[in-house]
């Protein structure tokens, strides 16, 4: 559990309030977006984010000032999602993890990927295409794209947030991006881009 690893701090009430307001709250938009992309439901996302912030406050003595508050918060949110929400979320039950990962690690998939998706086609995607494409991915693939491409976390930070080795972060990102491109090519084709 994330709260047991670091030596406990002993902050005064004022210090706690300062940390909460100045280090935790500035990440509220990123946190809400992460919650929304995980649950795909606005109400669930609000609950998840609120639970996360209250948990963060309750365990604030486990947060070391000067360390990455955003990564710390994201990790709590991700764990809360897995423990409390994933079971009851509306998503269909998950395919076996190993199976998915080894399938997408096979050479087969790389060969299928059309590298012909064009930048011009992307520039015409002014609606919800990219958002829908992202939401259509399996939650584990969706997650790495959000953490890396949207939030700018480094691989080692992602490894800590997700509790997986860096090698897995890299391979999962690689597969996730291929799947996203596949989805975007479908949209591009529907938009009339022949070579997309």
């Amino acid at each position: 559990m994330e709260f047991e690893e670091t030596p406990k701090q002993q902050y005064s009430e004022t210090e706690k309030q300062n940390i909460f307001n100045n280090e935790f709250m500035p990440h509220i938009n990123s946190m809400y977006n992460f919650g929304y992309r995980l649950t795909l439901d606005q109400d669930d996302s609000k609950d998840l984010v609120q639970d996360t912030y209250l948990k963060a406050y309750r365990f604030i003595d486990s947060f070391q000032q000067g360390t990455n508050a955003k990564a710390w918060l994201f990790r709590i949110l991700k764990n809360s999602f897995i423990n409390d929400y994933r079971k009851k979320s509306k998503e269909p039950s998950k395919v076996d993890y190993q199976e998915v990962e080894s399938y997408y690690n096979s050479e087969e998939v790389d060969r299928q990927i059309t590298p012909d998706l064009r930048v011009e086609a992307l520039q015409d995607m002014i609606g919800d295409e990219i958002s829908n494409a992202l939401n259509s991915l399996d939650v584990d693939f969706r997650t790495v794209i959000i953490l890396c491409d949207l939030e700018g976390f480094k691989y080692d930070e992602m490894a800590k947030i997700l509790d997986i080795p860096i090698g897995t972060v890299r391979s999962r990102l690689h597969r996730a991006r291929n799947l996203l491109k596949e989805k975007l090519s479908e949209y591009a084709k529907q938009m009339g881009y022949k070579n997309a």
């Binding site: 509220i28 809400y32 984010v49 919800d128 949207l150």
Partner: protein
């Protein structure tokens, strides 16, 4: 990056899989400076598929950033703050 003469670029990449991995390391800011300059100077501008892939990767990230971020509702922010203050008082 300059705008290379596309007619002089090679149209096939024999190492596309490895190149793609390097390309993502670069775009993610995880490549070493040597890896980066080596790839950008010695490969990218001579190789059409990699050149296209690079621009595609960059465009997808821009699209994600511009279309997939959202703002937390004000009521959520207020509610969190209220609950924490309550917590302080108790």
């Amino acid at each position: 990056m300059s705008n290379p003469d596309q007619s002089k670029m090679k149209q096939d990449c024999e190492t596309q899989r490895e190149c793609m991995e390097m390309l993502q390391l670069i775009v993610d800011g995880e490549a070493t400076p040597e890896q980066k300059s080596n790839f950008l100077n010695n490969h990218l501008e001579q190789c059409m598929p990699c050149y296209k892939n690079y621009h595609l990767e960059v465009a997808i990230r821009q699209l994600l950033k511009s279309k997939c971020a959202s703002q937390a509702p004000q009521e959520l922010v207020d509610s969190i703050k209220a609950k924490v203050i309550q917590n302080l008082a108790s």
